[in-house]
Amino acid sequence: MKHKTPLLDQLESGPWPSFVSDIKREAESRTKNAKGVDYQIPVDVCDDILGVLELTYVHKRTHWKHGGIVGVFGYGGGVIGRYCDQPEMFPGVAHFHTMRVNQPGGKYYSTEYLEKICDLWERRGSGITNMHGSTGDIILLGTHTPQLEEIFYELTHDIGQDLGGSGSNLRTPSDCLGKSRCEYACYDTQALCFDLTNEYQDYLHRPAFPYKFKFKFDGCPNCCVASIARADMSFIGTWKDDIRIDQKAVAAYVGGEIKPNAGAHSGRDWGAFDIQKEVIGLCPTGCMAWDGKKLTIDNPECTRCMHCINVMPRALKIGKETGISILVGAKAPILDGAQMGSLLIPFISAEPPYTEIKELIEKIWDYWMEEGKNRERLGELIKRKGFQKLLEATELEPVAQMVKEPRTNPYIFWKEDEVEGGFTRDIQEYRKYHLR
């Protein structure tokens, strides 16, 4: 290796897969160049990334500069400029810009597609990727400024692939695989994700907001893309009617003929399946009962936790009247701590062309663009101004499902025009009953 890396080498010693080993392997492969790749950035980029990281550990301070101006013409996102502050010692990473690639819906791609992406990144970048970033994009880590337009051209013209969002843009929308494989999916996540990605191209590629904004699409409340914890707007599949019960299949689970959780916990002997302990007793609202022969569910009390359906998927199915719940304001803990999404729309139909959903999105954006402070996420704005202000901005009536904690949040603030007779009272009439 080009640089000695004793501190990094320790990271290879544990039982876990090591990114250090991965980068060393790529460094070795670049040095050998057995495939005769026409490298467009320094061959030793991977050696130098290890070198600068080792130096960072020695100095206990970063050797990366903050941000940059770089991008591709016409776009204001998708490229994140990174420069090393020891370019003479580590010329391979003097520039180490990141490119975010808008991942295909449901993260479905062919081997041919992956080979093309990897070949491109080996030739014009470091060969190091992150599959996938927290937002869901394919992250291509480390290239030099003169390569950016070249990479963008090849991505768009040869691979039919667009960049994703970064900075104060709409971030790359992210979805679960939805109806393509999952029987729990209550709506077509990929169709909605694709539609909104196309509808809001301008917002995805050019900054428009006080800060980042994320859409995420989960087909059911299992929330496989964790939209409820991460997205400024979460679209979570739900149903209005009753959970469908196949009593024969319930009996088969109880009798041990069908393995619970589709056999997912079969690596260890957990004993015989106990429906009372493992399903009925774990229902968060206590809305289920088992009398030894028949399973019953008090459906209006169900909060769609999905536990019973996950444990007994052949016996219990989501309802037939399906749609979406929309939650707003989730975020990671950079400021003010992490925040989960708050329910804004308990149920909305998810049929193209999604006009109602788009109208709602644009009302929320107008409000946030007008009222949001610099670098303030939607969730922080809602917290600062109150949920009621968001309801006014979105022209929605308050409903019981929006109240998270009825006993600790009991106040309703009425406006004068909402109260019959207004706020002014007849003082003479009042004094008839109340002395001064």
């Binding site: 941000g67 991008g71 970064s166 900075g167 104060s168 900054p207 800060y211 980042k212 402070k373």
Partner: protein
């Protein structure tokens, strides 16, 4: 206010600001109080296309500056 006039207001507004070379989108709203946020956003993004302004991004947020002014490339703020 016409587009050309608004662009002039923005450039002059930025040139007046001392000590800072990169600005949030919201700073431009204040320069054009009669414009809606979306109109201001379109205007400044067009000014980037016309190479009057340029983006600067930390990766998580995006700022705008006059093209060529302030921190450039691998420089630190305050360096030429």
């Amino acid at each position: 206010m016409e587009t050309a006039e608004a662009q002039k207001v923005i450039i002059e507004g930025l040139e007046k600001k001392k000590g800072k070379s990169k600005f949030y989108l919201k700073d431009f709203y204040a320069m054009l109080p009669d414009w809606k946020p979306r109109e201001v956003n379109k205007l400044v993004n067009n000014m980037v296309q016309q190479e009057m302004l340029e983006y600067w991004s930390s990766g998580s947020t995006t700022l705008y500056g006059i093209k060529g002014a302030g921190k450039q490339g691998a420089a630190e703020e305050g360096e030429e």
